[in-house]
């Protein structure tokens, strides 16, 4: 490679200014000294770039904000604020004719942690409350409930659900179904009527027995956080160098493209890993997410994902050379897919086939699969290895393309 530090410098005569005496400073020693070893110059250039990058990160509050404040805020928001479990759902119970059976059934709702029941005597009142958004659903226990229950006929219960939010409506009706069947079983066994059920499913939930959504949301968030630093922040800071003209001045120094790229990659790699460590600590100690895999696998896979994200960020800024455009593209191409298409919030298997195909292009998808496995299941190599291989491919692709697209030219 470059042996640039070898070339002959003109011998600078240190001459006392003849003529005007004001600038008689001696210039001896500058340039004409011993030539440095080639490797030494390379290291020094890289060190200079790294130190510059680091100073810029420290002085730019927005870098710190994106790297540390935003991830912590997201973690707190998702860890505490957002939960995909329904609990204490306000539901209206209409008891048209009070009686021991109706009271017992209504009592089943009161015992459940999923419901916050409110009792009404007529359907009209309950409907008004539903319209006023005070209730998410209504369960009507009809006047002939007890009578029908004693007879051979079905004892129908009417369930009205606010279907505006389809997801919570489905959850709610399923919960009501659950309360109903539990109550029926107990009721029948109390009365010594044998329950005839063809199949008796005994559900056991693995890996996340309490079905805490936090347990899979928090690992998923780590992916979003790394995407922020790896792709968004890197794209912004590199595009800024084009915009401010600092790259043009760099290009005419003996610095090589590899040094320029490394000078960007290394600091943001460290920053991204720092954010990752912080997030993992929060996940383990603040949110009590279990960690069943090994830390070294976590570190290795995070490295792979971060390299892929950095590669995307660099490529975006090399192509756009403009902070605004780079920021928008980074959000659209990396940040939003990490949220929506990675399987972190929405199950990939329930997406349309075309969208499922697209998710294969999203690096976050592979990392989400790895993280959820590592945290909740353990070192399951049959999951980790193929996903890690995909990350290796993506990192190599994006970094390689960035290197090819970056030229020491300004056209």
């Amino acid at each position: 490679m470059s042996t640039t530090s070898h070339e002959q410098r003109p011998d600078l005569a240190s001459e006392s200014g003849s003529g005007s005496g004001s600038e008689s400073g001696s210039v001896s020693g500058s340039g004409s000294g011993q030539p440095a070893a080639p490797g030494c110059g390379r290291n020094r250039r890289l060190r200079g770039l790294l130190r510059k990058e680091w100073l810029q990160i420290l002085r730019d509050p927005s870098s710190i904000a994106i790297a540390f404040v935003l991830p912590v805020a997201l973690l707190l928001l998702f860890g505490y604020g957002v939960s995909l479990d329904s609990k204490h759902v306000p539901v209206g119970i209409v008891i048209e004719l009070p009686g021991p059976e109706a009271a017992s059934f209504a009592g089943a709702f009161r015992q459940s942690q999923y419901f916050a029941p409110v009792f009404y005597a007529t359907r009209q009142e309950a409907r008004a409350a539903l319209r006023a958004h005070e209730l998410d659903g209504i369960v009507v226990i009809p006047a002939d409930f007890a009578q029908r229950l004693k007879g051979d006929r079905d004892a129908p219960v009417q369930v009205i659900v606010n279907g505006v939010n389809a997801n919570s409506a489905r959850l709610l009706s399923a919960y009501v179904q659950g309360v109903w069947s539990t109550w029926m079983q107990r009721e029948l066994s109390d009365r010594l009527i044998p329950v005839v059920q063809p199949v008796n499913p005994e559900t056991r939930i693995w890996f996340n027995p309490e079905v805490r959504s936090r347990n899979y949301l928090v690992p998923g968030l780590l992916v979003v956080n790394m995407t922020l630093v790896g792709a968004l922040l890197t794209a912004l800071v590199f595009a800024r160098e084009w915009e401010r003209g600092t790259l043009e001045a760099l290009m005419v120094t003996p610095v090589t493209l590899r040094e320029i790229l490394l000078g960007k990659l290394l600091p943001y790699f460290v920053l991204g890993m720092g954010g990752m460590v912080l997030s993992v600590l929060m996940a383990l100690f603040l949110f009590q997410v279990p960690m069943r895999g090994s830390l070294w696998v976590l570190a290795a896979c995070s490295t792979l994902f971060l390299l892929a994200a950095l590669g995307m960020g660099l490529l975006i800024s090399i192509v756009t050379r403009n902070q605004f455009v780079a920021g928008m593209i980074a959000i659209l191409a990396t940040f939003l897919p990490a949220f929506l298409l990675s399987g972190f919030l929405f199950d990939i298997d329930s997406m349309p086939v075309a969208v499922q195909a697209i998710t294969h292009l999203v690096a976050a998808r592979y990392f989400v699969a790895i993280l959820q496995t590592l945290f909740l299941a353990g070192d399951v190599w049959s999951v980790i290895l193929p996903n890690a291989a995909a990350l290796v491919l993506m990192a190599a692709f994006f970094l390689g393309l960035s290197r090819r697209r970056l030229h020491k030219r300004i056209e």
């Binding site: 470059s2 640039t4 400073g25 500058s30 340039g31 011993q34 770039l49 001045a249 120094t253 030219r409």
Partner: protein, 570 residues
């Protein structure tokens, strides 16, 4: 010694939208070792492209360029290790301190740590940056930033130094200091310097000049070789001071006259042959005397195509109700505890071209914004077009036009769309819009470019468009904030011809400028420094104040620097 930089049949074109722009059209040149070679040419002549090719940042379409013995295209890394290149906008890291910027470039250019203390001491002594070592580069003044950029380029002394318009937008004091640094380098460090500039007076400071025009070399030689052929063809025509603008316009139209510009109270004329301009019909009070030619005359003589710009047809004569267009008394503006403008007092008479001169940060733009009613004054009396700005700013604004320092039109709209938008923004409707649009397009010779995207136009055209937009509503007073910064000399002349024509029709023009020769075009001017007023008067009066025994006829730049230094000493 072999030539440090040689180009042969160098060609380079760029695509800009659908148009192909030829930046360099087969140029061949060689520059001499150990001296300052000036690369001079109008905007878009190809100066920056040549610099970038020499630094190996661009690949030529054809031809070759050899820099310090290396082919700049194929061995760009070797070239980059040896040359120092300072781009037009040197990308300093603004969130790094002066010292940190220097350290970075010392690392990048491989300056061994042992040599750094000496080199730093030398550079800070040259640039005067010593006291600011710990200051962030973003907080330096424009001139200081340029000096730091130069220092970064020079950390490891290069054999060839490429400077792309280093003095653009830099105030005269800093400009003089930058030149001193360049001379010192050539003398003490045996450096060869190639410097591009739009300031013609800087050409005379070079040992050798390359004149570039439309991608071709029009001439190369010492500055005198450009001005000498004009011996006997340059004259100073003096008439009644009040009539000088009319005299200039009249002279410029005469056959045989290549160029006529205002210089102080007189008109400087360049003719196409060695005879004086025909002054017989101008009256007895007009005298004509020969003067020695300067570089600018030679430049204009070589480049000016004798197409007559019919200046501004159809400007309605403005009859101002008041004799006083602008009256300012005790005008003060404070931002927190920083006083940007301190107790200004001056008046501008109707129909006058009035200049505001000052270094960067002197308070010119702040003053302008207050006069336009864009910024409320902290204290003082302020009357514009007979209206007290503190009470009726909106009313006054309808009677003034404002052209800001930066291009403030919409770059992705066409010329016509921009004009249409501004016409409507000023409240014109229907027929009025069409009439003023037609006027603007023809008066500013923009008809051919009406549908071009304005952001892709050369700077000179964009400035024309901006001025046209400011005149759509036929204002009585026109404010121009550094209208010609970075514009080449030909476009600047044209611009001033339009300003003069406006003034002839009674429009009052207030203009800020960095160009000292432009101060000569003003009827009266003020010089500002650090928010305060240093001098008011006609160009001749102000120059007279700087006259000394050893300098009987100071230039405007001498006067400016003398005033600033007096103020600093006081």
């Amino acid at each position: 010694m072999s030539t440090p930089l040689a180009a042969s049949d160098l060609r380079k074109t760029f695509r800009s939208g659908k148009r192909t722009v030829t930046a360099l059209d087969g140029i061949s040149l060689a520059i001499a070792a150990g001296g300052v070679t000036g690369l001079i040419g109008p905007d878009g002549a190809g100066k920056t492209t040549l610099m970038r090719l020499a630094a190996g940042l661009l690949v030529p379409d054809a031809g070759s360029i050899v820099c310090l013995g290396h082919d700049a295209t194929r061995e760009s890394l070797a070239v980059q290790a040896k040359v120092g290149y300072m781009p037009q906008r040197f990308g300093l890291y603004e969130d790094l301190s002066v010292q940190e910027n220097l350290d970075l470039y010392a690392d990048l250019q491989g300056l061994p740590p042992a040599e750094r203390p000496d080199r730093y001491a030398r550079l800070t002594e040259m640039t005067g940056l010593g006291p600011f070592a710990d200051r962030l580069a973003g907080q330096l003044s424009g001139g200081m930033k340029q000096k730091l950029g130069l220092a970064c380029t020079l950390v490891r002394p290069p054999r060839l130094l490429l400077l792309d318009e280093p003095t653009v937008g830099v105030d005269p004091v800093s400009r003089r200091e930058l030149w001193d640094i360049v001379y010192t380098l050539v003398r003490d460090e045996d450096m060869t310097v190639l410097l591009s500039t739009a300031y013609l007076d800087e050409a005379e400071r070079c040992a050798d000049v390359i004149l570039l025009h439309q991608g071709r070399v029009v001439g190369q030689g010492p500055p005198a070789s450009f001005s000498d052929p004009l011996a006997g063809r340059t004259f100073l025509v003096t008439g009644p001071v009040a009539e000088r603008r009319r005299l200039q316009a009249s002279l410029a139209k005469r056959p045989g006259v290549l160029d006529a510009v205002l210089q102080g109270d007189a008109v400087r004329v360049v003719t196409d042959a060695a005879h004086p301009p025909d002054c017989d019909d101008l009256g007895d009070s007009v005298t004509c005397e020969p003067v020695s030619p300067r570089f600018e005359d030679g430049f204009i003589a070589r480049l000016k195509d004798k197409q007559d710009h019919a200046p501004l047809p159809g400007v309605a004569d403005v009859v101002a109700a008041e004799d006083e267009a602008i009256g300012v008394d005790g005008l003060t503006k404070r931002f927190g505890d920083f006083t940007a403008v301190d107790n200004l007092r001056f008046t501008v008479r109707s129909g006058e071209v009035f200049g505001l001169l000052g270094a960067n940060g002197a308070g010119k733009t702040t003053t302008f914004r207050m006069l336009c009613g864009l910024l409320p004054a902290t204290a003082g009396r302020l009357r514009v077009a007979g209206v007290d700005l503190r009470r009726a700013a909106a009313k006054a604004r309808g009677r003034i036009g404002y052209m800001s320092q930066k291009f403030s039109l919409y770059g992705n709209l066409s010329v016509r769309q921009n004009l249409d938008f501004f016409a409507r923004a000023y409240g014109l409707r229907g027929q009025g819009v069409r009439e003023r649009l037609d006027w603007a397009l023809s008066a500013f010779e923009l008809t051919d470019l009406a549908d071009a995207e304005s952001g892709t136009l050369p700077l000179g055209y964009r400035q024309r468009l901006a001025m046209a937009a400011a005149l759509l509503h036929e204002p009585e007073i026109l404010f121009l904030d550094e209208p010609t910064s970075g514009v080449d000399p030909l476009a600047r002349r044209e611009f001033w011809a339009r300003i003069n024509a406006l003034a002839e029709h009674g429009v009052t023009v207030l203009v800020t400028t960095h160009f000292m020769e432009e101060a000569e075009y003003c009827d009266r001017l003020v010089i500002m420094a650090a928010g305060a007023l240093l001098a008011v008067g006609t160009p001749a009066e102000i120059k007279a104040r700087a006259a000394r025994d050893d300098r009987p006829a100071p230039t405007m730049e001498d006067a400016f620097i003398a005033l600033i230094q007096q103020e600093g000493a006081a």
